[in-house]
Structures are given as structure tokens and as C-alpha cells.
Symmetry: C2
Subunit: 516 residues, 2 copies
């Protein structure tokens, strides 16, 4: 019935009916899964203790399975990872960085924020007692910056956003008012359209977007309202439309509006790895750490995994009836396995995205103290692409860490990847100081992670050569093995994708085990 | 020189020069004031221990003055006030409400949020060690609601915002593309304008705003992206423009964009009164509580204030050389005083705004659990005008308090004012349940404050009959007395206005004392 309703496109009443019925805006996650009735003595081996593996371990044990988890690293979490003060990290090639942040400061090299509609991970945070705080994504007082715009000086987001909205509203309102759009706008809609443009665009009675206290209330005052004598506010002049358009700073105006970035967003208090710590409290006893998988073989009787205890315990073997393999395909492709040819070719064809993140610690929060920026992200066309300010500890004294850059795909990641950590740091400081001149005076210490050099994943997230063609082969159960992780999801590089992928995989595996 | 630059309107380069020079976007507050060299033995009497009075006490004592503060209530803060679990409050007329919230829950009946550009109060929070957390003002997942739109059912903010932006961008882009605006848009601007509209409005290659995974990424999916098999997302159909316009839900689209509501905003952890508690830690020893001022007289020798110790200590007299009077004009007008005729007539002509706020406690966070709303504000044309969800304790179990309504001026405040607390509660539940049907099942307890019935201020904030005419008379020093508070500011009803008013008043008073 709803499909029929849905095809009556444009019918708001029908859409609304769907919404009321709870079907529109649906989520893939509708609460904790309940798997039960695992056949007595059935064992599942989980490879990898990232969020997909941890989820599988937690839910399969709850269903009654015997569960063993093998994890390459000395702790759980995988890319759900936080570099804390006192940590050290050795990247591929052997360069080691010692994290010299002040106590309590950290960098999330991987995921760093949780969208509000990522219901599964939010629910696991709740169940695991992981305390969340808002991640400030959109902050109107951050900067937009291009090297060739405004003489290379950053401009506040609120100015570009307000002025672009105001000028385009003015154009449309005037065109409508002058009758130029009479073939596109019905007479019935005309008045409300004009009124809405006046409201949204902050236009005056003549549909003009001009310098006034009204527009200053959105784009900023030259003198803010005060108290006592001489306290009246003064407006600023909008930037004219041609300058706004020519600056191309509008390219970032929709970034914060997407579902993945819409407020409210969250981060765990104390670092993203608090989620991994929460899982470890529940299933840490199932995990063997420092276990490097060498071989994954399955036959009609079961699954056999050979692994090396990198802590010095030599070669070991684990067997199970079934296996949930969350090892990234970048690594799995290098492991001896007898997975089907179809799955093998998908594993071999997936490449992994590069990404680089910097955590830079400064002696003081100059972005708050000097520039009144509390959390949020400044965007730039410099290779660092963005600077994000900490969404915690606002107005506190002492050193603080900002995200000094976050490259995402593209050639920049490869260039940074070729650098030593010290070189990467220097470049981030050089670029960042063009936006914040305080950088050089206030810099204390820093760390960077180039994901292509992270030994246990060799990249940031899986990229498909042909997702439509290959996805099902990767997701479906291969005899006794099912793969899961962010790479087998439609939310790649998000923790939610890893968890949903795992929940789906273990649900199907459980069903197969029970029902054949 | 800058004035000359400023008149070259539209010159972005010049504007930018101003911005770089630090003059644009200027604040009235540029850091802690330093008053020093108070003449030996000079005493200032401060009337009222709201934020204006507390600021005056703190800074005047630091300058070397002898300071005495008289406060009507049993604690400091004035309208910087929080009703905590276990508090009781008696309104004018004698009705007492006992606040039966669960431990730790609270309502801020007065100010409840701090904008990022309110530099003075943020700086006092920093100096006083008041811990802040983000106040979520804009949340794309909250509701917009009108009784006569969509059959009286609420619609998510993200849908109205995305669709209005998309449809208006489509209209403008098509008009530009068809050459209809050639007299308004230069050939140079044309391409960038079209491209910017495509980006901001999420239009397709033909400049259409249509159902697609692209638009769903902003307005919401019918099936969100998942993991594993059957995980591909599905789009929603946009609501058509006529329906959006007709609904008038767009009237709230600019609300969150104003400087007073732009992200990042803050609230003190644990309630707004933590600011008052911070001041009390510093100047509590200067304050006499339960002191009801009866008379304020000044002559050439000094200031004499007669007051009643409402704790039973009888009538008392305090004298000083000067006085900072932060008593709201609604109260001051009822006190015997010999202020100048000019000031007296301003005092008598100011009326005070009504406002009503409700704190409703529910057994669980159904807005989070059922509707995935974490903080933020839903707007409605019902008399409660808005519902705001707590910006703290996300995803926690146990009872939680939401702001069940916040009326602001207008006839609704008068109607609610005439009700008993129990009647007000019932009305808020009735209205709120039209937006959240869970209200009746989950309601636990509630409290409301109607500001016209608050005995010590008789209103929410001062309203001028003619601000341009009267403001200077209210702000300037009247022989030995200077008045201060939110009412004598260009940020009325905001704590920042009270503090800035006070800082300006005491700076002028100090100057007068030192330099005559």
C-alpha cells in the first residue's frame, strides 16, 4: 500500500501520511538485535576487534555461541582509535611518534564524530555507558578560506552564508515581484514566496539585501550592541554578490547541511576510543591480542585460522564452526585463504582510501581567546583542507589540541603520505599559520597519522571498483565465513557502517546456522 | 580614515581591510576592566545582586572601594536563576510550587543560553570557573508545527529547510539560465551564480530540485544507508513548493541564523545559576540578603538607603558616598526615592515584558529514544510557542526535564499569567501532546514561572516607551546614583546586557569620583 502512495510523487499529504505512520525517514537500525537459540557448542571465530568484530562478539555470545576473537593489535577498536598523551605510534616505514600532549588531550586519527541518525552506534554508546558530548560541526564564527579570495585572508562563515542567502533571495524576490517568473510561480504562491524570501534572506520592504541593523543581526555588527551610554550597535556592509561569487567560498555552504553533518552531532567524552573501551569491558575476555592472522581456511567441517602471537608466543591455530571476518580487504588480500573465487576477486580489487590527520597542540586556545571560535570547522583550499577546533574544554586554560588538517582522498593525501612525520608537521604549521597567524608563537607539539601508513589497515576506508557489481559477493556468506566492516556498507568510513554491516552479517549467519 | 573607507559601499576589498585591521565585527567588551586608584575610604552601595550588581561589586572592590550590596532575595543572581530539585517558589498571589524534579534536573526560568559573541559573560564564566557546555539551539531533527499545516502534524526542520532552499534555488537558477535575469545578473557572475545555487540548493544538472539520493542526503532518506545485504539507501520525495509556502513553516527558518542564536551557544553545566554561585564565591561576603529597599535618598554628602530585613531584623539604614542601583525599574518605581525628575519619569514609564516558561519532567527521554531529537528547539504556533530539549545528559536513563513552553511578549503571556500553576501545567501538557503524543503517558512533574508574577521583578525585561528619547536619561549618572541592568542596554533580556551596562556605569562612576 505504501509503495502505491509513494508513487503519487509530490503529494505532500501522502508523504505526511507515511511520516505519521513512521515509515518515512526510516532507519536500518531499530534497536538491539535479539539472536537466540544458538545450537549447543557452536563456535564462531571473529577476526579483528574493530567495531564490527566487537559487535559480532558481543551479540553472538549473547545468542549463546562460543566466541573467540583474534586481534592484531594490543588493544581493541581498530580505526576507533585515539592517540592520548603518553602514547607512541609507529607507522609503516618505522617512524615513531611519541604523543607529548598535555594530560587529557588527544587526537582521534580515525572517526571523530557521530551523526544523530547513526542510531546503532548511539545505542551501543548508551548500552556500554559511553558518555557523549556534542561535537560542534557548524559554527558560524569559523572561517572560510581560499588562497585567491580576499587577498588570501579568511572570512567568517556567517558573512559568506548570510550574504549569499541575502543576495540570492533579493534576486529571486525582485524577479518574482517584477513578474518575470509568472510562468514558473503561481499567483497563489506569489505572496508567500515573497514573504518567505524576505524572512529567510533578511530583505527590506523593497526586497533589497542591504547594510542595516537587521542584516547585521545575522552577518555581524561593526559595533556589537552594548550597555550603558554609547551602546547602540552599528551595522556592517554586506559583501557584494559578485565578490561573494568570485571568491568561491560558497562551495562550503552546504557542507554542514548534509545528514552526516547536521546538528546535533556527538563525540565520546575523552576520545573516540572510549567506545572501544566500553566494548572491551563487555567482551575483552574473548579477545586474544597481538594475534597476526596468517591463514584462513574453511572446509565442510569448519574453519581453521593460523596466526602468530606477535608477543613471542609463536604460531598458533584456532578452529571454529564459523567465522566472522572483519579484517580490512587491504590486509585480507595478503593473507593465505581459501575463500571463493568470487569473493577473492572482490577482496583483491578493493583499494583503500588515503587520509591524513594532524593533532596540533598549542599553549593556549588562541582561537577562543582571540577569535571567539568555540568548536567547529574552518575550511580552506590549502592542502590541509580544514582546521577543526576542540568541542570540549571550552574556555579552559592550558594547552589544547586542534585538528590541524584532515585530507580526504585526492592527491594531497599521497603527498603527505610520502613525508616523514616531522615534515608533515612542518607543512601543517606552515599552511595553518596562513589562517591563524598565532600558530608559530603558540605551537607546542603535534602528531599526524597518514592512513596509508597505518600497518594494520593500510588505508582509511575501502573503495569499490564497481560497488553495484561486486557488493553482494562481498556481503553474502561464503560457506562458513561472512565478511563485515565499514567496507561492506553504504556508510563507508563511518563507524555506523561497520556496526550495521556486522549486525546484518551475524543475523544472516545465525539464521543459516539455525535454519541451514 | 575608516569612515571614509566605509562609505565606499560595496567595496569588498576595503571591507576586508577593515576586517583585517580588527575593526569590523568589533565588540563592546575587550577584556576585564581595570579600575584602580579609588580614593581612600570611598564607599559604594550596590542595590541588587543580579548580574549587574554582582559585576559592580566585584570590580569596584577590586578598584579599592568599600562595597556593600543589598539584595532582596535570600541568594544572589536575580533573573540568573535556576529552579532545582527540592526548591520551592512562591509567586505573586501566594501560589507555591515545590520543585519535585529528580536529583540534578532543573529549569532555568530566566536566561538559559549564552551566545558566542556575548564576550563579557563568557569571560566572567572563565574567570569565575563556571563550566560551560554547548547549548544546542539549531537541531535539524526538531519539529516545525502549525495547527493548520500538514493536518496539524509536526514536520522535521530538515525537510522544510532543505525543500525551501532547494525549490527557491531551482526557481532562481532556472530564471537565470533562461536569461530572464540578464538585466540583474552580469555575464561574469552568471556561471558562478548557477554553480552556487546548484551546490547550496542540491540541484541536479538541469537545475531541478527533485527526489534523489542527493537530496535525501540533506532532507532525509526513506531508508537510511545500512550495512551488509539489502543496505542501499532510498530517497524521499521533497514536499512541493506550494505546500511548503502554504504551510508557513518557513517563518522559523531564519530564527537559528541570527547572531543571538548562531552556533556555538553555551549553558553552564548544572544550571544558569552557576554563574551567580561563581560571583557569590567572590563577593558573597559583601552581600546582605533578605534586604528589601524602602527608600533611596541622595544629597550633597552621600546616599542613604533605608531597608527592611525581611528575615525579621527590622528596619535598617545604609549609607555610602555613591550608589549603583540595579533594581529593575518596575520595582524602583515603587520605592521612595529622590532621583531627578528626568530619571524618575523614565523609571515610571518603563513597563516590563511578560514571559512564561515551563519545566516538564518526564519519566524518560522519549524525544531521544523515539524521535532521535538531541537538544534543540521545536517551534509551534500553539501558545506555548516552543519546546526545547535538554542540552545535557544525552542518552541517559531516568527522568529528564524539557522546556515545555516559552512565551515571549504577546497576549499568550497575559493569559498564562492569569492561571494558577496547576492550570498552566495542564495547558502546557495539552498543547505539547499535540507535538509529542508521549506526553501524557510519560509526564512526571512540572513547574512554571510567569514573570509578571515574580515578586522581585514583576516582569521579564524592561521595555521602553521611547528608547531614543529616554535612554540617555536612564543611563547617565544622577548625581551620586547610577542605574544599571539589562534594561539599560541594547541587549535587553540578555545577561550580557546587564553586565555591559554595569561595566559602563561603574567605569563612568569611577571616572567621576576620581576626576570630578
Amino acid at each position: 500500500m505504501l509503495q502505491i502512495v509513494g508513487t503519487a510523487a509530490g503529494s505532500a499529504a501522502m508523504l505526511h501520511a507515511m511520516s505519521v505512520m513512521g515509515h518515512a525517514q526510516g532507519s536500518t537500525y531499530s534497536g538491539p538485535i535479539k539472536l537466540d537459540g544458538a545450537p549447543e557448542g557452536t563456535k564462531v571465530l571473529v577476526l579483528g576487534a574493530g567495531l564490527a568484530g566487537l559487535t559480532a562478539a558481543l551479540e553472538l555470545r549473547a545468542a549463546g555461541y562460543e566466541v573467540e576473537v583474534l586481534e592484531f593489535r594490543e588493544k581493541a577498536g581498530g580505526r576507533c582509535w585515539t592517540l592520548h598523551s603518553g602514547d607512541s605510534y609507529t607507522e609503516l616505514g618505522g617512524e615513531t611518534q611519541n604523543v607529548d600532549f598535555a594530560e587529557g588531550n588527544y587526537l582521534n586519527p580515525g572517526p571523530w564524530r557521530i551523526p544523530h541518525y547513526h542510531h546503532a552506534i548511539l545505542d551501543y554508546c548508551r548500552r556500554l555507558g559511553v558518555q557523549l558530548e556534542p561535537f560542534i560541526q557548524k559554527n558560524y564564527n569559523t572561517y572560510l578560506h581560499r588562497q585567491d579570495a580576499f587577498g588570501g585572508k579568511p572570512v567568517r562563515f556567517k558573512e559568506i552564508a548570510t550574504d549569499h542567502r541575502g543576495h540570492t533571495s533579493e534576486l529571486l524576490a525582485k524577479a518574482v515581484d517584477q513578474g518575470k517568473l509568472d510562468d514558473m510561480v503561481t499567483a497563489d504562491d506569489r505572496e508567500a514566496l515573497l514573504e518567505s524570501l524576505k524572512t529567510v534572506g533578511v530583505l527590506n520592504e523593497k526586497y533589497e539585501y542591504v547594510e542595516s541593523l537587521d542584516t547585521a543581526y545575522y552577518r555581524g555588527y561593526s559595533k556589537t550592541p552594548g550597555g550603558g551610554l554609547d551602546a547602540a550597535p552599528e551595522p556592517t556592509a554586506p559583501i557584494d554578490l559578485s565578490t561573494i561569487l568570485d571568491s568561491r567560498l560558497w562551495t562550503w555552504l552546504a557542507t554542514h547541511e548534509s545528514l552526516n553533518h547536521q546538528l546535533t552531532m556527538f563525540q565520546p567524552v575523552g576520545g573516540m576510543d572510549q567506545i572501544a573501551r566500553g566494548f572491551e569491558r563487555e567482551v575483552g575476555d574473548l579477545i586474544t591480542y597481538n594475534a597476526k592472522v596468517l591463514s584462513l581456511q574453511q572446509d565442510e567441517d569448519g574453519v581453521t585460522v593460523t596466526w602468530e602471537d606477535t608477543g613471542g608466543g609463536g604460531q598458533q591455530t584456532s578452529t571454529a564452526d564459523y567465522c566472522v571476518c572483519t579484517i580490512p580487504f587491504s590486509i585480507l588480500g595478503q593473507i593465505d585463504h581459501n575463500l571463493s573465487g568470487e569473493l577473492s576477486s572482490v577482496i583483491d580489487s578493493m583499494f583503500y582510501n588515503g587520509s591524513v590527520k594532524w593533532g596540533l597542540e598549542f599553549n593556549r586556545r588562541f582561537w577562543e581567546e582571540d577569535e571567539h571560535i568555540y568548536g567547529g570547522v574552518s575550511y580552506t583550499d590549502l592542502p590541509i583542507t580544514q582546521i577543526s577546533y576542540p568541542s570540549t574544554g571550552y574556555l579552559s586554560g592550558g594547552p589544547a589540541v586542534l585538528l590541524g588538517g584532515y585530507t580526504w582522498r585526492g592527491p594531497n593525501s599521497f603527498e603527505f603520505n610520502a613525508m616523514t612525520p616531522q615534515e608533515r608537521l612542518e607543512v601543517a604549521l606552515e599552511y595553518g599559520s596562513r589562517i591563524h597567524p598565532q600558530y608559530r608563537d603558540e605551537f607546542k607539539t603535534g602528531v599526524s597519522v597518514s592512513w596509508h601508513k597505518v600497518p594494520w589497515v593500510l588505508g582509511c576506508s575501502g573503495i569499490w571498483q564497481d560497488k553495484d557489481r561486486d557488493y553482494e559477493a562481498a556481503a553474502k556468506i561464503d560457506r562458513r565465513v561472512v565478511c563485515a566492516g565499514e567496507h561492506i556498507s553504504y556508510l563507508p568510513a563511518w563507524q555506523e557502517g561497520a556496526i550495521l554491516s556486522s549486525l546484518d552479517a551475524i543475523t544472516r549467519l545465525h539464521d543459516k546456522i539455525k535454519n541451514g
